[in-house]
Symmetry: C2
Subunit: 528 residues, 2 copies
């Protein structure tokens, strides 16, 4: 499997003609073959029209059919994991083990969402049977459930070439919910994207699904993405990336004649609070744990702990000193793209200039696209007076905030913006007294972690990957990871007075799928 | 109980000083006592600060405590139903029976949502227990559920002085979800609003809830509403009203530094399709049923059937002729406000001037604020070529669209904008053949009605009151009526590695509330 540089528009490929770009190997600082061709306006229109034509058929696919399709994609990813991971290593500079692991996570995610689709419990099916004799007015039969929205546009992310890209979480959950998907490929790993995209097209064909089920569009710039978000036939958007990019798409969608939802996962500083008891019990383990969490993937994770908050003490100072030494000794590694590396260098240099901010660790770099940890410290009162210090620096850089006392630590918690995660490390006897701090943090993050680390996200039924703005564009009302992600691509429909034969199977009396339903106020898998 | 014309800001009342206004009795065309005073900027700020201060306490209230509070409000409404209904009749011109019935609907709604809050099933609680021995990495304990957003602003509607106003559906669902509420009173029925608001404040005090649990703000103009939507401490907005008003608030909220959700229920034309078989079986009953649905409440319902679509035939022409005669003979009644009446007169006059549009029924009016049915007809090809004919005219006016054949009828369905409802009347042998039409309509409305009428909404577990834009601002992804309405005021939070004692009761091992939870992928009410 070698990428051809062509968009995938239904069962055709894009033609050359538009602007071109290449992938870049950040570890070797070298352009990669082949040239990738941006789609034309005509090709984009054809992709959207195909998706809109496929949408009614997709809305009628059974959960079992969607599960078959998702499992087939998963099987294909697993079968080609070696070649896919190799291509991703070239295009992202990430280690082979990480890329291989991410393929497995992605296929696992496809299977989990497919299984949820087939079980049908997630549809929130509700039935209230008629009461023709009710006074003063008869009660009609009402049956309602979630139904797919229609064509969904997914923007691939830079930092997850598989799990949040072409066949990643947004695509998998939109397919599972019954929506055709158009992916705008991330230009940082187009070859990986094309290879994955071709496997998806194979699966579409093998399952006998409509041509418009899936498309993968390349673009050297922003025009294609903007045109997709503006297109009247597009019904929802998934995005993982920067705050600037996400907010631009959110604003574009909000300004449409018919606004549509943009589920954007954006900036997150992921505050990490360390209390005295935790340091007393396990400072060495915390050094190792926090170092690993903050440097894995060259810090290029949305859950990277970017703000470390502690009360000043001799033990805390020793902890930070030990951590800083370990950070300084951390070997450099290539960042995902020259642009991300340039931003990292610029942002860390700018932070160095901030009054009251000191560098406490700075690793050595020699590679063209390399980065090593750059950590800072400041006093809580400086942090509280300088909103710029709350901005995420994407990459291996965090800010240690020193609090004089508990009150100042709570003030820092109060001032935080929204994050995907907030972590608290406390000693055994200390945890029970953290009610106020936990309340404060629960208003700031979608996932609260006690004595653990924010990186290493589970894909599961109970996980929440969301948070108040700016962590996610919808303020944490939905999650982009876990089986709850499916509901983002749906809307509610209620059928009043419909005979069984005209209802979707999920709402028919016999409950042919055996899904959990609310019937006259009681949850049951039984027939009506 | 007599209104004093004062806003309710926690346990205080607003002071005179700002712009003033009065309610107006549309049936008698007379101003009503007393004068109502707009809140000042300082009073508005105090209301929001009080709500923000109350929010953490509200987030910790048990479902049982919220249920007690909602039931107490409901009991108070029922106890004072006569005086409340009398005041509403004065301020809205609606008949006494309707106003009395609406009080009962509103108290029933409060009790239904309170019961849902206490049961806790709606919280989507999910637990995945730890697997410390999992390879390659241990799996942490994850527990997640919906948690309240914080202060909610509710805009009272003009056409439901109780059910969608001060203690109406948005307020009840926000309280049930655990959020303090600030109501911007609708200026058309401020006295009714104040009386209801005082009962809510009584209930706040009797339940020992924080002062910021509730506020009711008056304003002669738009400034207070806009300031509330812009306020950084406000976390969500509920609105029922016009497309223009709703969209303005949606745009305002989207442009905030931190965007917040505005759940706006706006314009809806509610298409009503009548197939030949239905006319053959029950034309006379359809004349009566459609007449009643289209004229109840002087047509001032968001589910009013505004577009009647049929294929031309002798039977259909006779049906429309009979219906038109009944409409023309319908006595006038007062509209809610002079402004609504003026818009109705202007909009119907403008429609009369549209090429290819003919008046088929026009009732007689003599009252200053009165309106009687004004119905129009046009050919499908005229309708398809004139987007202005798809606009809702609020009040007793509908447009009959004549289709030459089945294909044209499907074209009309295809061109529809989003609505709250879509109704289909079919004969016994005809219904089974409507798959394509039902598919088309299911993309256009949140509730599909077979052989019934869109007005007369049930407040229940299964109901959906929502629809694609412009029916609702979020495209029908949530509902403003029914127990699903609670989720609008929440976001997801996940707790990782928390000991039982630090978790909300809903996520503790013992399941003290006995709520339905997903535990390791299985739904159960059992303890972990």
């Amino acid at each position: 499997m070698i990428p051809a540089g062509q968009s995938l528009i239904g069962f055709s490929t894009g033609a050359p003609g538009g602007a071109v770009f290449r992938a870049f190997d950040p570890a070797r600082a070298a352009d990669l073959e082949p040239v990738f061709h941006s789609v034309s306006v005509v090709e984009l229109e054809r992709a959207v029209q195909l998706a809109a034509t496929a949408a009614p058929a997709w809305a009628k696919l059974t959960g079992a059919a969607r599960n078959r399709f998702l499992r087939l994609i998963a099987d294909k990813l697993d079968r080609h994991a070696a070649v896919l991971a190799e291509k991703a290593v070239q295009e992202t500079g990430l280690p082979l083990a990480r890329c291989t692991g991410e393929v497995a996570r992605t296929s696992g995610q496809l299977r989990l969402y497919g299984e949820a689709a087939e079980r049908g419990d997630w549809l929130d099916a509700r039935i209230e049977t008629a009461q023709p004799d009710r006074k003063p007015l008869p009660k009609p039969d009402h049956r309602s459930m979630l139904r797919p929205l229609g064509p969904v546009v997914v923007f691939g992310s830079s930092n997850f070439p598989f799990a949040y890209s072409v066949a990643g979480g947004d695509t998998a959950s939109a397919f599972a919910a019954g929506c055709p998907v158009i992916v705008k490929a991330h230009p940082a790993h187009p070859g990986t994207g094309e290879l994955v995209g071709r496997l998806v097209v194979e699966a579409v064909k093998e399952c006998g699904l409509p041509e418009g089920s899936f498309a993968l569009l390349f673009d050297a710039g922003f025009e294609v993405g903007q045109a997709l978000v503006r297109h009247p036939l597009v019904k929802a958007v998934g995005f993982t990336g920067s705050l600037k990019g996400g907010r631009a798409l959110v604003d574009l969608a909000a300004a449409r004649p018919e606004p549509i939802p943009v589920y954007a996962e954006m900036g997150s500083i992921n505050p990490f609070f360390i209390l005295p008891g935790a340091l007393a019990e396990r400072a060495a383990a915390l050094v190792d744990g926090l170092h690993a969490s903050a440097t894995v993937g060259v810090g290029q994770f949305c859950t990277n702990p970017g703000l470390i908050v502690l009360q000043r003490s001799a033990a805390a100072e020793k902890f930070v000193k030990d951590l800083a030494a370990k950070l300084t000794a951390t070997p450099e590694a290539a960042m995902l793209t020259p642009g991300i590396r340039k931003a990292f260098v610029g942002n860390t240099a700018a932070r160095t200039q901030q009054p009251g901010v000191t560098v406490i660790a700075q690793g050595k770099t020699a590679m063209a696209c390399g980065a090593a940890p750059v950590w800072f410290e400041t006093e809580a009162r400086t942090f509280l007076g300088n909103p710029g210090l709350s901005s995420e620096i994407f990459g291996p850089s965090s800010l240690v905030v020193w609090c004089r006392d508990r009150a100042e630590l709570l003030d820092v918690a109060r001032q935080l913006e929204g994050s995907l995660t907030a972590t608290l490390h406390a000693g055994a006897s200390e945890a029970a007294e953290q009610g106020e701090l936990i309340d404060l943090l629960s208003a700031k993050a979608g996932r609260l972690i006690l004595n653990g680390y924010p990186t290493g996200l589970e894909v599961s039924q109970a996980i929440v990957h969301a948070g108040p703005y700016p962590a996610t564009s919808d303020g944490g009302r939905s999650t982009s990871v876990g089986t709850r992600a499916l509901v983002r691509w749906t809307r509610l429909i209620c059928y009043q007075g419909f005979p069984d034969a005209l209802l979707p199977p999920e709402l028919q009396n016999a409950n042919p799928l055996g899904a959990l339903r609310m019937v006259n106020g009681q949850f049951t898998r039984a027939a009506v």
